[in-house]
Amino acid sequence: MAQDILVVGELADGALSATTVELLGAAVRLAEGGRVSVTLLGSAAPAAAAPAFAAGADRAFVSGDGGYEPFRSDPWVAAVQAAITQAQPAVVLLAQSTVGRDLGPRLAFRLDTAAAMDCVQLAIEGGSFRATRPCFGGNALASYSFATSPAIATARAKSQDALDPPRAGATGETVALPGPAEARTEVTGREQAAATGLRLQDAPVVVSGGRGLGGPEGFRLIEQLAAAIGTHRAAVGSSRAACDMGWYPVSQQVGLTGKVVTPDLYIAVAISGASQHMAGCSGAKAIVAINRDPEANIFKAARYGIVGDYKLVLPPLIEAIRALD
């Protein structure tokens, strides 16, 4: 059954965010012929409408008012609420991002409905929307249906597939949204994290080290492995245990309380695979585990494994990867 869907779009560096493109792809599949709308807010929004149509939107609710930047929830809630009133969607999709973490629950309570956060699967089952998400630190998955409408869901980055191919040259309807409502929150400062090359969340490959490294010097081999794969492709991560012991910066922590990463390849070195760590990396397309303990939990999630001491495995692995090219 066709149903209308609204995607809350986000812009990054003046373009549609990668997750917005993925959500629009998901929306086209879930709509089953229904209408897909997107909200675009901020000075780059008018220029983002055409890419949003190519990514799957039929209609864009747009305000190019710079007052929507930086994100503050009061004006965003009001704008998205206005779009929802017009579009009457059955489902509202957001990214599990700085914006979506705030806006998803706010919209749910404002509209007297419900939200499911950080979903990894979105589906229509028996004609109704079903959202599936990890819980209990990634130990379990929970599937939800919604007793109220619209259903609201935030989705994890890279959990959904963009339209392939995009609808090149597609056009759609543009609806103007009013300028920003007043915000109770005042943003007084912003610090960008030290730009040390590739961001952990963006890296196609993440090489992480854990407690089994035995000390901070173990991370030198981890860094060499990442460098052998390519500094433009591989970033270095760490388990919470290793961060807690001060072996590596907390900014690189992967896990429930650190970064959630969804790379093509995740190499877990001397990491046992505690559930709170798996919550941060289980979305990887492939996991490689290198661990001395053949019973380590990480091997249950891994596609490829080596049982062995990382000090003996990594030097020849670094050589072998360098020799690939």
Binding site: D264, G273, V313, L314
Partner: protein
């Protein structure tokens, strides 16, 4: 100033994955044997954030509220031992089995009943269901602003100054009181109560509030009021098909891994 800290008792998130079990028919987690439930880690950090302000602002008192069964009293006692002043336990049977909506609704009603609350401190998410909605829900229901995922919270001149953790850095925001703030692990470790404080906490008041006292229609709380319907709870089948690299030496295994990753077009 009067602060509220929301505290939840949860199954220990450090439970090893091998001891984690789900009853798929009841759609419940089976409590692991011999592993006691704990205060959700982020709620302990929320208490820490409130206590740091209390230390610098004379006349500040902190009420800790927990929605849960009788055993949630332990979570309340822990926050009282850290330095909170009194507790409220919402353990009526009609409150059980709800979702983020009913939890926020019930907590908001209790906060309204307290009457003079200036700020509510919640963890960024409960470390069991990991939803991260209740703090924002309380704010929406009370009509208050909310700052989420805080790494530091300061209070001056009727405003909270909150440093927030973003995906790629930090942001500092100011919100007028009354307000809700949700607190992240970047704030730091919660304090560890001294024995004397634990003994003092045993004498602090923990009162109950019933749905009638909170003027809550039983059909809007607990399982009856839930908007999210849990259709399925299951432990994902984790591959179980790990391909171990052949070879008698680490060298041979490492070379096999590099070749395998290349053949699979992963590297």
């Amino acid at each position: 100033m009067h602060f509220v800290v929301c505290a939840k008792q949860i199954p220990d998130p450090e439970t090893p994955p091998s001891a984690f079990r789900v009853d798929e028919a009841k759609k419940e987690v089976i409590p692991p044997q011999g592993i006691a439930p704990v205060l959700s880690q982020f709620d302990g950090i929320a208490a820490e954030a409130a206590l740091r302000i209390k230390e610098q602002t004379s006349g500040t008192r902190i009420t800790v509220i927990s929605l849960g069964q009788e055993r949630a009293r332990d979570a309340i006692k822990q926050v009282l031992a850290m330095g909170a002043d009194e507790g409220v336990l919402l353990d009526d049977a009609t409150f059980q089995g709800g979702d983020s909506y009913t939890t926020a609704r019930t907590l908001a009603a209790a906060i309204r009943k307290l009457g003079d609350v200036d700020a509510v401190f919640c963890g960024r998410q409960a470390a069991d269901w990991d939803m991260g909605q209740v703090g924002l829900g309380i704010a929406e229901l009370l009509g208050w602003p909310c700052a989420i995922i805080a790494s530091s919270v300061q209070c001056a001149e009727g405003k909270l100054t909150v440093k927030r953790v973003l995906a790629d850095g930090f942001e500092t925001v100011r919100v007028p009181l009354p307000a809700v703030v949700t607190v992240s692990n970047e704030l730091g470790e919660p304090r560890y109560p001294k024995l004397q404080q634990i003994m003092q906490a045993a004498r602090k008041t923990v009162r109950s509030m019933t749905p009638a006292e909170l003027a809550l229609d039983p059909s809007t709380v607990g399982a009856a009021g839930a908007r999210l319907k849990l259709e399925r709870l299951f432990v994902p089948v984790a591959g179980g098909d790990c391909e171990f690299m052949p070879g008698d030496t680490p060298q041979a295994q490492a070379v096999a891994l590099a070749k395998t990753l290349r053949a699979a077009r992963i590297l």
